[in-house]
């Protein structure tokens, strides 16, 4: 049997661009060395905090969607989430981290966020 391998697309540039995006986003491991140990650890801690923050936010939205929050509760949850988000922004600025850096590749499990 002859194997005729093909790579077929009418849009090669678009696919190369998209594949490039996924190659570079996530570091393979946490970049911690004597020079930048503080930033490396901050990145790990902030990644976990960001994960928890997003989970909290999603849970709140589900409750809004289900109509199980009163006007007062929406007010209070809104205030909490807004403060959390602002605090995260501050911390990201302090440690010079961007949104896309707050992620980890968990191998076969995929990305953390």
């Amino acid at each position: 049997m002859t194997i005729n391998r093909v790579v077929e697309t009418d849009f090669p540039e678009e696919f190369i661009e998209e594949m490039g995006k996924t190659d570079d986003v996530l570091p393979k491991k946490i970049d911690a060395n004597p020079e930048n140990v503080e930033k490396g650890l901050a990145k790990l801690v902030l990644t976990l905090i960001e994960l928890i923050r997003k989970l909290l936010e999603k849970q709140a939205m589900r409750r809004v969607e289900a109509g199980s929050l009163s006007e007062e509760e929406i007010e209070r949850v809104g205030e909490t989430l807004m403060k959390l988000e602002n605090k995260m922004e501050e911390l990201k600025q302090i440690f010079g981290l961007k949104d896309e850096e707050l992620n980890l590749n968990l191998g076969p499990l995929g990305d953390l966020m």
């Binding site: 194997i3 391998r5 093909v6 077929e8 998209e18 936010e57 939205m61």
Partner: protein, 269 residues
């Protein structure tokens, strides 16, 4: 003498065809029981990942695939001598044998799909605007406005994910009819709706191809990439604790093959 390893095959026989690999070296089979490791001799370390070297590696596996079941090995797998190679073959013989049995007469195809994510989002937003809102949050405070904005984004994200699931489900139903195994990645990026690999029996090759053409013609606004047949890079299963080629500083013979496939694929476009 260092050996450059291309793959494990389901034969202990001598390779009859003349195949040349990296540095133009002759490719031959080192038998172990009823299977074999296909190698060529290499004198110096490979200088980085070049397009030419990847394609030479790939060309060897392509030729092997035509005659044997192949467990493709990652690019740049070098083993320090025949004794180390045979020792590795002995340690993993059972795993190699099981994989070769499972993957015999099957080949891998890659399918990637880009969708117009902006238009999809626009459509979802317009649909929400037209329909009566299930949830209404007043905007009499900054906290509530924050919640309202967040909820609109949440609705959009949920709608976006649901659309992606729907399209992938339709496509996958067609492809799966002719696939023995599959691995799907949804929304690797916002635009990359699907990045999938399917393991297809050689007998079903034409049917699988036809299913792809059908799906492609039914989704004119989407962009498709079809690649293959590849050796079954993504379907080799090894025990979690296997640590192949520890001595030659290779953690695993088969890891990082997705990048390898992508690189070769990209180079061939």
């Amino acid at each position: 003498m260092k050996l450059y390893l291309y793959g494990i095959i389901d034969s202990s026989d001598r390779i009859k065809d003349s195949i040349y690999g990296l540095e133009g070296a002759s490719v031959y089979n080192i038998p172990f029981c009823d299977i074999g490791a296909v190698v060529s001799e290499i004198n110096q370390p490979i200088q980085g990942v070049t397009e030419g070297a990847v394609l030479e590696h790939e060309a060897v596996t392509e030729k092997l695939m035509a005659k044997f079941a192949v467990l493709p090995v990652r690019f740049q797998t070098i083993i320090d001598g025949r004794d180390n190679l045979l020792s590795m073959m002995q340690s993993y013989y059972k795993d190699f044998r099981n994989n070769l049995e499972r993957l015999r007469n099957k080949i891998e195809f890659g399918i990637k799909v880009i969708w117009p994510s902006d238009k999809i989002k626009e459509h979802i937003t317009n649909t929400y605007k037209k329909n009566d809102k299930k949830v209404s949050i007043s905007d009499d405070s900054s906290n509530k406005r924050f919640m309202r904005d967040k909820f609109e984004k949440y609705e959009l994200d949920e709608g976006f994910q649901a659309k992606a699931d729907k399209f992938i489900n339709v496509m996958d139903t067609f492809f799966s009819k002719f696939a023995a195994e599959k691995k799907l990645k949804k929304l690797k990026t916002e635009d990359m709706l699907l990045d999938a690999v399917y393991l297809v029996k050689k007998d079903d090759l034409d049917n699988f191809r036809e299913a792809f053409e059908h799906i492609k013609s039914a989704h004119a606004a989407f962009k498709f990439l079809f690649s293959g047949p590849w050796p079954a890079y993504n379907f080799v299963i090894l025990p979690k604790n296997s640590n192949l080629l520890k001595d030659s500083k290779q953690e695993n013979l088969f890891d990082k093959v997705i990048q390898h496939q992508d690189l070769v694929g990209a180079n061939k476009i």
